[in-house]
Symmetry: C2
Subunit: 207 residues, 2 copies
């Protein structure tokens, strides 16, 4: 029994180390670019143990995405949860992005990357990526509604576009201060969406 228990503990520890190593390597270099042997080496476990924890690379990839999803959602929720005022909660999303983009190992969104790399050939990866984004979209929807947007769905979609765009631009280095730019755009859209009169119509009819 104590042998069983110790096995359990070691097994969990091994699983944790494998998942950590996989997350770091997959995220940094792409999924297809890192082999099981590199993960084994980085995790400091044997190949046998690795396959005991995860029966295949596909399973490890799924676990990687799932873990990443949970961590990211939790971090965003914590960041947004620190502020109470509804409009500020919307912009807090972009503060979170700014913090994330400043991370040393930032390399874009795992899900956008994985979707671009494996989406067409791996339905599980595509589904995981879509699920992650659906969660994000829903969170933005409630934030938009709580902020008093006339059309919360429309604002949520626009905020989602800004978030995705900021992530991509930050990953590729194509915009200066993408999080701040997205945040100021979000404030402008929020203003427009909560203004008394109109919402989406351009003002000037013609020149």
């Amino acid at each position: 029994m104590e042998a069983t228990r110790r096995d359990r503990i070691d097994g969990d520890e091994a699983r944790r180390r494998v998942l950590d190593a996989a997350e770091r390597l997959f995220y940094a270099r792409g999924i297809q670019a890192v082999g099981m042997d590199q993960i084994r080496e980085a995790a400091g476990v044997s190949l046998k143990r690795l396959y005991q924890c995860f029966p295949s690379k596909d399973a490890l990839v799924e676990a990687y995405l799932e873990h990443r999803d949970r961590r990211w959602n939790r971090a965003l929720a914590e960041h947004v949860g620190r502020v109470a005022e509804p409009r500020e909660r919307v912009t807090a999303v972009f503060g979170f992005l700014a913090e994330w983009f400043g991370t040393a190992d930032f390399r874009g969104c795992s899900f956008i990357n994985a979707f671009g790399e494996l989406g067409p050939v791996s339905p599980p990866v595509a589904a995981a990526a879509r699920a992650h984004k659906r969660t994000l979209r829903e969170r933005l929807g409630t934030l938009a509604a709580e902020a008093g947007a006339a059309d919360p769905d429309a604002l949520a979609d626009q905020l989602l576009l800004l978030v995705e765009g900021a992530i991509v631009a930050a990953a590729m280095g194509t915009a200066t201060g993408p999080a701040e730019r997205a945040g100021s755009a979000a404030r402008a859209l929020l203003d427009a969406a909560t203004a008394p009169g109109h919402a989406l119509v351009s003002r000037r009819p013609r020149p």
Copy 2:
């Protein structure tokens, strides 16, 4: 001489067919997921000929991205070029996106996908993707300036975020009508950026 000439012609024809096949397959399934043999089969040429046209898969990938870059830029320029009014030219970008997203084989941005898949391990791919986005960013900059934005750089960055976000959301199906949503956001930002008084500051000081 005539032999040489015919070789040239056949060689160009083969090159065109190889590049077409590669573009279609790389874009649809991802770069690492398609092998040289599949390209050879789709192009209807021999492997020897394929390697005469492109000495390696890396070279073919670079040619694919280059070709895609030219075609995309030309299509966007044509679409925008059809309208004269500066503000309408900005929103024409999103009309172009809507048209593109409606394409049957649309599967996101080749460069975002390629960057996510091979950016960390292939400097040429990363450079091609960045160059493509730099061109786009510059075009948006001139459009923003011509539309009379108070801070053309800021508006150009925001438009870029909307474009990138719309492409990603369209590829993953996470927003409804991403091009239209991005277009309406762009109009709102354009309004804010060309309003007489302020530009980027949120209006209400506090509740």
